[in-house]
Subunit: 142 residues, 2 copies
DNA sequence: CCTTGATCCTGTAGCCCCTACAGGGGGCAG
DNA sequence: CTGCCCCCTGTAGGGGCTACAGGATCAAGG
């Protein structure tokens, strides 16, 4: 066996993790949840990942960076795996996700405003009479 | 016993949940994690919540609305429980929380921009050649 | 008085997305 | 052959709930 052949045979879990920048345990987790297929194994039972496995993992990790849930990613992958997905379907899933991200942003901005308002009423003094606590203990926020 | 006395004796879990707008199970959960004290009980073992218990629950729920974590709320409550908290301490906790909210917002906005960009390159057609998939499968996001 | 149906109790398991351990077996360098 | 690191498996933990199952209690109606 040449070194070339060995390289093409695949990489083990730790190496795949290093290359893709994720935790080795995450890879195993994706396998148990069916996002990654069961990879080949060495005689000793060590996982061996092909180039295709590596691309698939990259796909998943990149989707996670975009905050797609694993369920959403499963949806994307199954479209791609079926092979006959349309661009429109993918766009719809993405648009849906985008909407939930935008909603989360606007919720957080409301939150941020409220926190700033409550916080600005505080004299930061040493007296225990705190308007923040009053706001939390009081009848309503808003 | 007058009806007045009975009313002051407290409410059961379901009623407390209804009044405060949370799930009854949440109340029990807050008890097991020590955020709420063990309440009084009827002879049959049913929980009976006092006015003080109700205020404390409202405090927790309102803090949760502001996205404080339960750990942060525990911190706030223990300051209040100790009695000798200063306004400055409370302000510091709040400012800290505000910072993490703001960070989350800016992360999500970056995300939103990326999703919009990727999404806008999509023709939404029926061909399976999708730039979103390409972006996810490709070498890097950004 | 008895039955229904709501509510209460307890303990436990599930959700999401990992992360971390324990207790063992491989693989390679010195 | 002795380290040392990696790999394997199964399982538990985190945060913040929520939802059962299997039983007891309660309040109201017939």
């Amino acid at each position: 066996m040449t070194e070339f052949t060995v390289t093409r045979a695949g990489v083990k879990r730790g190496e795949l993790a290093r290359r893709s920048g994720c935790n080795p345990e995450t890879i195993r987790y994706y396998e148990t949840t069916g996002l990654l297929p069961e990879p080949a194994r060495t005689e000793a039972g060590h996982r061996l990942y092909s180039e295709a496995d590596q691309s698939r993992l990259r796909f998943i990790l990149r989707s996670r960076e975009l905050d797609f849930t694993l369920a959403e990613i499963r949806g994307l992958l199954s479209l791609v795996d079926d092979g006959d997905y349309s661009c429109a379907e993918i766009h719809a899933l993405t648009a849906n996700h985008l909407k939930s991200v935008s909603r989360k942003i606007s919720d957080l901005r409301t939150l941020e405003r409220t926190l700033k308002r409550i916080s600005s009423e505080c004299a930061k003094g040493n007296e225990p009479d705190c308007p923040i606590i009053d706001a939390l203990a009081g009848p309503a926020i808003g």
